[in-house]
Symmetry: C2
Subunit: 235 residues, 2 copies
DNA sequence: TTCGAATATTAGGCTACTATAATTTCTAGT
DNA sequence: ACTAGAAATTATAGTAGCCTAATATTCGAA
């Protein structure tokens, strides 16, 4: 009747902290107490407390009054959580009819309860997928992750052709809107215009019957990771 | 980043208590503090404490110094946990290659983390199964459960033909042994002998090439639920 | 270069759950 | 009916996680 998975003594909370710290680092954002507090929806003193426990367990280094760094143990644990989360998202989407805007929440809870055995079986059933439904790379069982070369849509030069590669998975509303524009990971498009002063970006998505132009606000565009396929418009 | 499923404020512990209380009742065993403590592997005072919290939440009635009864709310919650557990067992066994002796442990953890939406999708993918891999009936979404008429193997009269209907799912070793005898839920057999003084029971399982006789110790036989199909030997 | 705002930490409390030790209540056997 | 032993409870304490309020530190701007 044990409530915790077999993974050595990491609470759900601890796993969430490690995961968020890893994700911030991956985005190049320093993991400050206040950032973590905002990201995890807890008060800053709660973060200080957890940081203390996690450093004492050797999962991260803490320079008081200056953020934290994951140790290699901590990074390994974080990648484990990330793998579980992303394999779950892939499995639930492909085998149980979840849509990409609702799957995050379910995975968020299950990632702490599934065993590694189950995750490997799900991965196998999907033929070891390399990306989750939002285009995020899935760490391997060994704990390696290939971060694909990408940049925010706002930085793709006008005229280039790019692939939509990834989007954050946390906001269902945002995901539904992106989908309504015809964007899903893997879709390619050409940037046809970009307004200055944080203005909207216009992209052209080739479709079966002609192509459609979509205008995307700057803030939304910043959150869309793209991989440039064709450097410039050779027209 | 919420750690709990949407189900109203029941902790994993609380769900475990309710489930065990329900299961004891179903077996006709009164839910005394010490019984619960043993079943849940916690100390008796921990049970007293949880009983207090659960009664205050209206999930059970407590007559101090005399066990507990589930209220209808409590029973409904318990049946929910049981449905989640058993649907999970059925799904993991049929879709992800779990064996019936290892699936319990995984379901035990996931039952507290899965949403009802996911459970319904799993159930649908299996065509709404009515029994789990151990032969236990799965409560419906509405919270009804048909307890099939059954009795322990030790009480099936000699000469009768019966169906092996159910076995507890908690002990992998026991399950593997039972399987090695050729017994799985749904298998039929005839009781050919029963020794007195808590002696072994001998059953004959018809097979493709003749039939095999298996001798089963009394204690093991007590844990095997059977449904009598043919009252007596009409030979 | 110092000072004030922003940020982080400590101090102190709360809840849920666990435990052990001490006490109370029940019940069965005489 | 009494009493010993079993069973349940209360008393007390610890851990993890959360909180708010108070304090400490840092850093940028005047």
């Amino acid at each position: 009747m044990s409530a915790a998975p077999e993974r050595a003594g990491l609470s759900r909370s601890a796993e969430d902290y490690l995961k968020v710290i890893y994700e911030l680092k991956a985005k190049g954002v320093p993991a400050h107490t206040s950032t973590l507090a905002a990201e995890l929806s807890v008060a800053p003193p709660s973060v200080s407390g957890m940081i203390k426990r996690l450093s004492e367990s050797g999962l991260l280094e803490h320079a008081p009054y200056h953020g934290v760094e994951l140790t290699s143990t901590g990074r390994h644990a974080a990648l484990g959580v990330l793998r579980r989360h992303r394999v779950l998202e892939a499995y639930l989407t492909s085998k149980l009819g979840y849509s990409w805007d609702t799957v995050h929440e379910e995975a968020e809870r299950l990632e702490h309860a599934v065993s590694d055995v189950l995750i490997e079986r799900m991965a196998l059933a999907l033929n070891n997928p390399r990306f989750d439904p939002h285009g995020a790379p899935i760490p391997t069982e060994a704990g390696d992750m290939e971060e694909p070369e990408s940049m925010p849509l706002t930085e793709v030069p006008v005229g280039s052709v790019a692939l939509f590669s990834m989007v954050g998975d946390r906001e269902p509303e945002r995901l539904r809107f992106i989908e309504s524009l015809g964007l899903r990971p893997g879709v390619s498009f050409r940037v046809v215009a970009k307004q200055p002063f944080r203005g909207p970006v216009t992209i052209r998505i080739p479709g079966t019957a002609g192509s459609s132009d979509e205008v995307i606000g700057h803030e939304l565009a910043e959150g869309l990771s793209c991989t440039v396929v064709e450097e410039l418009d050779h027209a």
